[in-house]
Amino acid sequence: MPHINLTNEYPGIRSLFIYRPETAAPMNALVQAMLHNPHPSLSAGERELIATYVSRLNTCKYCCNIHGAIAKHQLGNNGDIVQQVLSDPETAPISSKMKALLKIAAKVQSGGKNVLPADIELARSEGATDIELHDAVLIAAAFCMYNRYVDGLATWQPDDAELYDKMGEQRAREGYLTPPFKVATGDSQ
């Protein structure tokens, strides 16, 4: 049961976006700018992996599943990479630069001050640019917000891999600014 009276036609953050459209607008604009819009060097799939990984560290089921599904669709329907990053980024088939950025993202998740000059130097030695460092930190920080928002109000977070995949496919294709489709729930009948 959510802590406040939310619609049961949409799961997770979507139920909150419908409840308070005034704050949904900038939150959707932010995620669109960070994860979906063209980027000089990080692919949408790489940026979604950072979001998915931080959501897993924050144990947010909804965000981890939806961004994992979006990442999969952005990475040429390759769900294996997503699962490998979630179980251990170090051994996942991603670039050394991405591994260094995910390490920074994990530091941000545990607290901003935990990011040390050595973490930044490592990423730079793997070719990370200032823009990539900035964006990795901001994506990680922003998912510390989205995850807390979704869990802090105890939103409905279904266990339905197919549903997340379908929602993820839509977001990978359309971005974040189009309306969500309604999800039928048992108790809405």
Binding site: P26, G112, M145, R148
Partner: protein, 182 residues
């Protein structure tokens, strides 16, 4: 020294916003809606206090001083009073509702799942509405982002706390949408 080359001398989040204007725009719009928009039953001062308290828990010097000065400006109290609320809001002269909401904000800072049903009931018992509970959770969550953004990139901030107090009235007047340009 920030971890990246910002190419400006602006302090804290303002240097980051000038570096990345495309993300600055929604970040400022979110702050404006959450903290300053007057279509809200929580006063600006009360909302700034929630942001200040969470920034204190996250040990973010820049944010707790910017927003502490804003809270002090709106609530007409000095920085010593703001500090004593941060350190022990339960003994402060605040409404039962604000104490219940600050307690929820403190749980959100640790992680969303830390918010308990009994904290929500306590807030309701003190006549907090759904929207007030919603905004408290989102303000607390948003400061877990702002604080990590500011500290995760190692930004610099003026150490003189009077700097923040002096700037608060102007920020209150102009709002957050203009913060990149000043």
């Amino acid at each position: 020294m920030a971890h990246i080359q910002l190419n400006n001398d602006l302090p804290g989040i303002r240097g980051l916003m000038a570096f990345s204007p495309k993300t600055a725009e929604p970040l400022n719009a979110l702050a404006e809606t959450l903290l300053r928009n007057d279509d809200n039953t929580l006063s600006r001062g009360e909302r700034e206090l929630i942001g200040t308290y969470v920034s204190y828990l996250n040990d973010c010097f820049f944010c707790q001083n910017v927003h502490g000065a804003m809270a002090g400006h709106y609530l007409t109290c000095d920085i010593a009073q703001i500090d004593s609320i941060k350190h022990d809001f339960k003994s402060a002269e605040l409404s039962g509702k604000m104490k219940a909401l600050l307690s929820i904000a403190g749980s959100v800072q640790k992680g969303g799942k830390h918010v308990t049903q009994s904290q929500i009931e306590e807030a309701r018992k003190n006549s907090a509405t759904d929207k007030e509970i919603h905004d408290t959770v989102l303000i607390a969550a948003a400061f877990c982002m702002f604080n990590r953004y500011v500290d995760g990139l190692g930004t610099s901030a003026p150490t003189d706390r009077q700097f923040y107090i002096n700037r608060a009235p102007q920020r209150a007047l102009e709002g957050y949408q203009s913060s990149v340009y000043h």
